[in-house]
C-alpha cells in the first residue's frame, strides 16, 4: 500500500509540473498585457517600462519559467501583479469560501440524487422514473446562472427570505453562512444533482442485471435486502469517483456563480485574475485546483484499494 501511494504521489508531482508548463505557455498565447491593464489608460512610457521591469516581465520567457518553477518547489508561488500580495496567501484566503460552497452543493445534490437515482432504477419505467429523468434533463440543460438569478429575484426580491448575495464565514456565524450559501449552493447543486441522478440510476440498473442479483432474488431474498446488500454496495463504488470528481471540479469551476453571488472564492479570484492578466495568481489558482484534483483522485484510489484488494495489488 505504501508503495502504491508513493508511486501515485510521484506521478502527481510530474502531472503538476506539466500543469505549470501548460498554463505558463497558454498565458503567453493569450493576447493582452498585464502591465497595460495594471496601469489603465493613463500613464506614460517611462511608467510602463518601470512597472514591466518591477514585475519581471522584461526577462526572457525561459528565465521567467525556470525561476517560477524553482520558487514554486519551495512553496513560493510569487506575488500578484495587481496587489503585490503573495499568491499562496491569496489563494488560501479564498479556499474556505469555495470549499464550503462546493461541499454544500454536493451534499444537497446527493440528498436529492441518491434517493431519486436508486428509486428510478429500481422502479425503472414507473412515473417516478420518468419524473426523475425529466428533472435531470432540466438540471443539465438550464444554466446555473439562470437558476441563480431566478432564485435571487424570488427568494431575495419577492419573498425577502434570503439575502441576495454575499458571504459570511462558517466559523464566524454558522446561521449567517447558511442563509447566504443556500441560493448559490442550490444553483450549483441542481446541475450536480442531475448528473449524479443519471449516473446513480444507470449504475444501479447495470448491477441489477448482474447474475448474482438474479441469484439473490432466486434464492428468495426480499427485494429490500437484495437492493441494499447486493446492489447498492456494488453500484455505489463508481459513484464515489464521480462524487469526488464533481466536488473537485466545483472547487475550480464555480466561476459564474461566485461572480453572480459576490462569493469570495477561488472561482471569482480566477475570473478577476483573467481580466487583469494577473499571471502569478492565475497560475497559482490553477495549480491549487489541479493539486486538489489529484489529491481527491489519490484519496479515492486509496479507498478503492481498501474496498477492493485487487486494485492495491496491481
Amino acid at each position: 500500500m505504501a508503495r502504491f501511494v508513493l508511486r501515485r504521489l510521484l506521478q502527481s508531482a510530474i502531472v503538476l509540473l506539466g500543469v505549470t508548463l501548460v498554463v505558463f505557455l497558454l498565458l503567453q498565447l493569450v493576447p493582452g498585457d498585464p502591465v497595460r491593464v495594471a496601469l489603465g489608460t493613463r500613464f506614460d512610457q517611462q511608467t510602463y517600462d518601470a512597472l514591466r521591469e518591477r514585475s519581471g516581465l522584461d526577462r526572457p520567457l525561459v528565465a521567467q519559467y525556470v525561476s517560477y518553477v524553482s520558487h514554486a518547489l519551495t512553496g513560493d508561488l510569487g506575488v500578484s501583479f495587481r496587489s503585490g500580495q503573495p499568491v499562496t496567501t491569496i489563494v488560501l484566503e479564498r479556499l474556505p469560501a469555495t470549499l464550503s460552497l462546493a461541499v454544500t452543493a454536493v451534499l444537497l445534490a446527493l440528498l436529492v440524487a441518491f434517493p431519486l437515482g436508486v428509486l428510478s432504477a429500481v422502479r425503472s419505467g414507473s412515473a417516478l422514473d420518468h419524473a426523475a429523468r425529466v428533472f435531470s434533463q432540466f438540471g443539465v440543460s438550464v444554466p446555473d446562472f439562470w437558476t441563480g438569478i431566478m432564485g435571487i429575484l424570488l427568494f431575495a426580491g419577492v419573498l425577502g427570505w434570503l439575502p441576495p448575495s454575499g458571504y459570511v464565514a462558517l466559523t464566524e456565524d454558522p446561521a449567517g453562512w447558511a442563509s447566504h450559501v443556500i441560493l448559490p449552493a442550490t444553483a450549483v447543486g441542481l446541475v450536480t444533482a442531475s448528473i449524479l441522478t443519471r449516473f446513480i440510476r444507470s449504475s444501479v440498473l447495470e448491477v441489477l442485471s448482474e447474475d448474482y442479483v438474479r441469484t439473490a432474488v432466486a434464492k428468495g431474498l426480499r427485494a429490500r435486502v437484495v437492493v441494499v446488500r447486493h446492489v447498492l454496495r456494488n453500484a455505489l463504488i463508481p459513484v464515489v469517483t464521480v462524487v469526488a470528481v464533481q466536488l473537485a471540479s466545483l472547487v475550480g469551476g464555480v466561476i459564474v456563480i461566485e461572480v453572480l453571488f459576490a462569493w469570495p472564492g477561488v472561482g471569482r479570484l480566477t475570473y478577476d485574475a483573467v481580466q487583469a492578466r494577473d499571471y502569478p495568481v492565475l497560475q497559482g489558482a490553477v495549480l491549487f485546483v489541479a493539486a486538489l484534483f489529484l489529491l481527491m483522485n489519490l484519496l479515492v484510489d486509496v479507498l478503492y484499494a481498501r474496498l477492493d484488494p485487487r486494485i492495491g495489488a496491481r
Binding site: 431575495a156 462558517l170 464515489v240 453571488f261 481580466q275
Partner: protein
Amino acid sequence: MTRSRVIGAVLALAVAAVAGCGTGDSVDVDAAGDTGGGGSGGTLTAAIGGEPDQLDPQRTSAYYSFQVLENVYDTLVEPGPDLRMGPALATKWTTSADQLTWTFTLREGVRFSDGSPLTSEDVVYSYQRIISEKLNQAYKFETVKSVTGPDPTTVVVALTKPTPNLLANLGGFKGVAIVEKSNVESGAVKTRPVGSGPFAVAGYTSGDSIELARNDNYWGAKPKLDRVKFTFVKDPTVALQNLRGGEVQWTDNLPPQQVTALKDDGGDVSVESRSSTDYWYLALNQGRKPYDDVNVRRAIAFALDRDAIAKAAKFGQATVNQTAIPKGSSWHYEYAPYRHDPDQARHLLGQAGVRGLTLDLMVTSEYPETVSAAQVIAAQLKDVGITVKIRTLDFAQWLDEQGRGTFDAFLLGWLGNIDPDEFYYAQHRTGGTFNFHKYSNPAVDKLLDAGRTESDPVARKRTYDQAAKQIVDDASYVYLYNPDVVQGWSKQVTGYQVRSDRAIRFRDVGLDR
C-alpha cells in the same frame, strides 16, 4: 456500511479543510460592533462593482480602489462640488511673480490615522516617490523641478515652466494622495493603507469586503458614521436587490435600463444622477487610410445620430456633446457643427473618393456601453455606405491593440478630467501619450503648448476654445456624449451628494435608524 463510510470520509475531509483554513483576513482595529452601540452613527454598507486591485493610492489605477481611498486619504488641495480646487491639507498657497515657485502652507496639527503627525516631510516623500519610482501619476509632475519642505508646515514646489493647472495635478483625485513613509516601506500600504482622511481601513476580507472605521484623528468635521463597509457586487441586478432588501445602503452599480423607473419611483430607494465630466468618443485611426483624410472623418461625424447613440448606450442617462467638456464646466465651449445629415456624409465621402468602405471598430466588454453604442453606430454608418465590422474584446486585449494601433476605430471614454489640459493635451498633441489614433495638426499643437503655460485665465480659456474648435473641425475625436453619474441609496442615508467627478465621499453622510 462501506459506501456511506466512503462518501462520509471524502466529505469529512473537505469539511475539515474548510474549518481548518480559517476565515479570510478580517481584523477589527476597535471593538465597535457593526450594528453599533448607543448613540453611535452606525455602519453604512456600500456595494461597488468590483474589488480594488490594491489600496496603494499611488500605484493603483482602478476606480474601485479610488471609491474606497477617497474616504481614507487626503491630497494637498481638492476639488469642491463645482470642481474648483480648494483647500484640503494645504490651507493656502502663493505663487511667485514668474509663476515658477508655488508655496503651500499646511494645516497645523494634522495626524495620520495611526496618530503620527503629517508634515511637509510626508508631502515631499509622497511626491518624490511618484517621480522617482515613475508611478502612474508621474506625468503630472513633468514640469516639477523640486519639492522641498523648509519647515514642517511649508511645502515649496519649484517648476521648470509655468503650470497653471498645477492644483488640478496635485489634488484632482486621490492618485496623488499624501502617503505615510513607514506604511509604504513596510508594504502594508497595499492592504492596510494609512492616510489622514475621515476614515481608516479597519478590515479587508479578500474577494468580499473592505471595512473602514471613523478616523478619530481626522482634522475636519468628525464623520457621523462609525463605519463604512464596501462590498463587491459585480452584477447590477444583484446590487439593486441588495439595496432594496436593506443589505446595502448605497450603490453606484444599478441596472441602466431601470434607472428612469427608479428615479420616478424607487420606493425606499433614492436614485439621483448628475452630469459628469466624463466623455465618450469615437476615435478614427489617422495612421491608416482613408481615415487620414479629414473629409472621411467629417463624413462619419455627420453620419452619426448622437441622440440615438446615447439612448442605446446609456438609456438616456447622458447628454450629447460634440466637444469634450460638458456644459456646466467653466471651460465649456459651445460648438456643435455636426447635425445628423447622411446626405452631407455621402457627399463628403464622394469628395474623398471613398466607396464601399469597411471599418474595423474595436469595443470592449469591460464597458458594455461601447458594445451597445457600436451597434447603433454600425447601423447609422451602413446608411451612408460604410460597413462596420465590430470586434468586441476583453479589456486586456483591447488595451494591447490600442497601444499597437491595430484598429480602424475604437470607442472609449475619458473619466474624471478637470483641467482642459487633461482633456486635450495627451490625446491630441502630436505624439501625445494617449494619441493612439495618430492625430497631428501643428496649429493645435501650438495652442495646446500655449495653454499649458498661460497663466491668465481669460487668455487661457480663449486658447482652449480655439483648440477645441479645431479638434472638432478636424474630427480628431468624434465626440458623442457626457454620461450622467447615477447612484442610488436607501432613504435612511442623509447628506450624500452625487459628484460630477465620481468621487464617493461619505465624510458628511449620516444614517437614520
